[in-house]
Symmetry: D2
Subunit: 355 residues, 4 copies
């Protein structure tokens, strides 16, 4: 009998170990801040997800994230016939794995209602069970009492908004007046809602973007070369949960998902210039001047509306140098619009290219 | 309230749907038999696995398998603090998904003991809860009473056999005498045990090979071109659970895992010839004759010890034609040993190449 | 000195050898015909290409083609400062490699003029030097005298037709009247011209599609899973140059390039049914009937405009099975339009799905 | 006639343009030096290669190299029936493309003789035609007169040394005495010769490693994730041909090819520490301390022979962080041998891991 117990312990150790390598995401810091890569919305078997909570930690570790929130539904627990309801279980289970993997695990839950108000993630809670209330208003209040950061999830989700366009209902306005919404998902899984950018500016909220993964990250985002699961990039004063929380409440974020960046100009503009460096002309002939633009980040940028004498469009691929052939009379700086960096519902980032 | 219920139903439908394409595995049938591709050993959150049972069905569907056995441990249930023990739950949960996905789901459980006898899968059971007995002998007897096919799993697993070499203990001999072992894993996850081939011949057992997956199949076997999760190929009279069971008890199997084939010569030899076709010479010059050998299967074959005038080694890659340049005096058939097709502990398949 | 000569011979043998595996393209035959996979347009250093002629043979061998035409420009020879003009050199150089690789190498040249008539490939010529004439009319006549098949290349190439739309100029009509155009490229490199299908029906010409490669095939078509360089599929009575030539003059062809098929309905319709097989219902419940459609070819098909009770759209991926969930009252056959199979400028193939 | 000329010019521009992105190789600089990534040995159609010279420039551009040497054979010109001999042609043809692509193109030629002395690359020559001499001694002298850097190529090439082991023949010793050998290939194409490291130390030569490519780089080194064509990394005072030449003559080099690094300890040791950074412990429990080691380079490192309490082996994958679980009593620094970094025939680099 003793031998049997021993081999069980071996199995147990195997099942919780985090192995393999952790990707280094090439995401620059901003001056004075460390860039924390976060996925603030994901599910496990404790609601309608397909994996055990520690698997979310393993995925985040491998993908180079700094922080994740496991946010199982409070009101939608389809596996309860087999798994008894426990709104803190996922966090309890995954917490030590997260510590060992250098991942910050944010204790969270998803308040899951019809629209309005739709779905809201309560992040940085202390007891999920207190959020299960008949009234959504009471549920949010209970979360706020725990100091939670309230994120309005996928406001234009077509299952709740047929036209895919997010709308501010009176209930949302009341929550905003109370200071009970602190961030809104601009990006969720595969879709994004440009209007969210304007609301985040108007109401001083954090722009967020997350996977909302139910299945397997590597199968949901199966890119041959680069993983680009959606993430909220948070500019924190330090790499701690307290630092992360302070930065989220202060709205110092942007979103990266596949080839889309969204965020307030005050953050995406310096972020762009941290990603890009422009070299001096390395060659000239009687027709042209040649320069190189290096993009040392993992994020692609597409520059459009270039000036006369410069390319109309420049694709700055991740971890790549782009050769730019200029006419002899072109004047620096070169002004471009960055097509894939959204700063408002109807605006993209404008940048100056100069060496 | 009504709207809320409706959106829950939408969520529910999403969570159980099997979507995407099903791979066609290029595995030939044998004359008179259909080749069923099976994984007879896998785990879920109901023991120490990381996924919900329906995910195993989805993986099998995508990978082109015909049948799977979810075989959670009876004696090792590390998640029982959160998931109450139910030895039939995984089967109950996944059964309708399997039907909808055209996957045969074999009701199973893993009897999980120290060596001897080690771990044994009971396949085709009717009630897993009856197999939870203090005595392993009683547990196996209970399974046999349900008509189970008993598979001895990973007999050389290093956690139980330090030298990695499987051994027949007195308890195994007793079980064999009783007719209570019907198959042995030649291959498990990433390792294989050549000695198993001799035992399967001697005791008239089925040779099996399985993933024993605990995590995610696509992350465990991440090949860039071809999926090659381990599988037991069963030569059945018909594609039904009854047909599969009859064939397993009759021992009509072989194992394919990555680039290894193992099985009895009576099955692997005709199987090899079904995979391969040899063309007539298509070109001759004064030095050489040129022929092509087509391998229309997904399985690579490595032929070695070629005759004088022919290449010493021939790599017949999957879904590929190999050009063979022969000396003018070479005599057909060309005799080769197939290095990666094991028929006994110390034998590989010998084949004749002729057109 | 003798040793030096020997090592040179070793080098020489290495440089002409065709090594590695030949892909088996999953392209079905039609009843009574063998499907020959051909690329009838490519370049080498003997005009403005970047590789030595034998490399084209190697690429075709690896990609599983049956026949290729190296068709260097007659009137555009930008490397002539370093490589003396010889319009038969590429064919002479590559011919023995092709024989050894079981590739049919079609002796060819590209008559390269402004529009009209644009560029025309003369295939199956005997002496390219006789085609270098001041008058394009004389050049074509010289090719026809050698028994050439004349293919009008990329009729809508934007360097010659700014709007990208091919046009029949009086010179083309005259050539057609003479019987001096025998095929037209529907597909070239990355672009296609639907109008060509109508012309090929009206004038009884072969529909062709080719790479027109100047660089490296694997870098031009770098698909992670499947190579899909453009190809003309020719339905020949036998796999010989004579068989290929007869079939081309008879117009028994279709074109496959990436996810586009183009051709006359009389060939693409039976070809589609050879690629696809429909299984009997394998499962029913009170709402639905489940069937599987297998696509055993390397070609994807996208079916649209499905009937009520069946999916609006069906993506039949290559080498994959598609699960189809039908309403209980749906009537067979299911009529679909195959969106990616073009039969005329404004028509796609209509098919019946039944088991 | 005029229109025809215009379209030819369009074609011409296309054929010489360098397009697409340039990879950023993650290769750190050393203090005071810039790391130049070089391939000092490659072939084109002007000897026994398969591509036009400008293609080598394009490949180097895409792969992020700084400098290349096109080194066609002087004594082996198998295409001379079709391409007249011109030992400076490849350089003349590719030079302007190289300038436009920010690639330093080193004028070179390969003196190609039986062993001894085997093959030698003359780099930084001014006129290749003067190196075609009956006597190899005269040929080398002619190169040296032009200021050439003489690299002894693949000294253990099995076509010239049956046992694959490089040997110093009397002729080599005489050349070394003359100061006529300045570097030796430690790595060539796919193989390497550890003994070369000792000779480079003894005779104060540069250690080099190159592709010697005849075909296509991307097909010769087809790694799914990372290109790792062999390269000589040169530590130069400035990124100019003069800077490169000075550094080569000074022997400030190392070689990276796939997962092998070779070079003198004085360069590989600081290079290793520039690639790696070690973090402070981020977590402790009662059994273990956890640290992270970041490898920000594209080069994998395999550390072996770890101390008690630390992992025996550490795989530091490129662009990845490795989590290290240490016993509580382990003492820093951790001493490891870097298995894949060779410093002498029988030595690997020993490193200290500390934070």
């Amino acid at each position: 009998m003793k031998r049997q117990i021993i081999s069980f312990i071996i199995l147990l150790l195997l099942s919780v170990s985090i192995s393999g390598q952790r990707r280094i995401l090439k995401i620059p810091d901003l001056d004075g801040y460390v860039s924390l890569k976060c996925d603030l919305h994901m599910h496990t078997v404790f609601s309608d997800g397909n994996v055990w909570p520690t698997y979310r930690v393993y995925e985040a570790y491998r993908d180079g994230l700094d922080a994740i929130a496991i946010s199982d539904h409070l009101e939608y627990v389809p596996k309860r016939e087999f798994i008894p309801i426990d709104f803190n279980a996922a966090w309890k289970i995954a917490e030590s794995s997260a510590s060992e993997a250098n991942i910050m695990l944010i204790h969270s839950a998803e308040i899951t209602r019809d629209m309005p108000p739709g779905h809201l993630n309560a992040l940085f809670i202390t007891d999920g069970s207190l959020l299960k209330r008949d009234s959504v208003y009471d549920a949010i209040e209970a979360a706020v009492k725990q100091g939670a950061f309230i994120q309005w999830n996928h406001p234009g989700w077509k299952a709740q908004e047929k036209d895919g366009i997010p709308k501010l209902y009176p209930l949302h306005r009341r929550l905003l007046q109370n200071g009970w919404i602190h961030g809104i998902e601009f990006f969720n899984e595969f879709e994004y809602y440009p209007k969210v950018l304007d609301w985040c500016i108007q109401y001083k909220l954090a722009v967020t973007g997350n996977s909302d993964v139910h299945g397997i990250i590597s199968e949901t985002y199966p890119r041959p070369k680069e993983i680009s699961r959606p993430m909220t990039i948070v500019f924190a004063k330090e790499r701690t949960q307290a630092g992360l929380k302070e930065a989220l409440f202060a709205g110092r974020t942007l979103v990266w998902a596949n080839d889309i960046i969204g965020g307030k100009e005050e953050y995406v503009k310096p972020f762009f210039y941290k990603c890009i460096s422009v070299g001096k002309p390395y060659y000239e002939n009687n027709r042209n001047t040649y320069i190189e633009i290096a993009n040392k980040s993992d994020i692609p940028f597409t520059l459009v509306n270039g000036p006369v004498g410069a390319p109309e469009t420049l694709k700055l691929e991740p971890n790549s140098i782009t050769r730019v052939v200029l006419g002899k009379k072109v004047a620096f700086p070169l002004i471009y619009d960055v097509k894939n960096v959204l700063t408002r519902e109807n605006s993209v980032l404008r940048v100056e290219i100069k060496y």
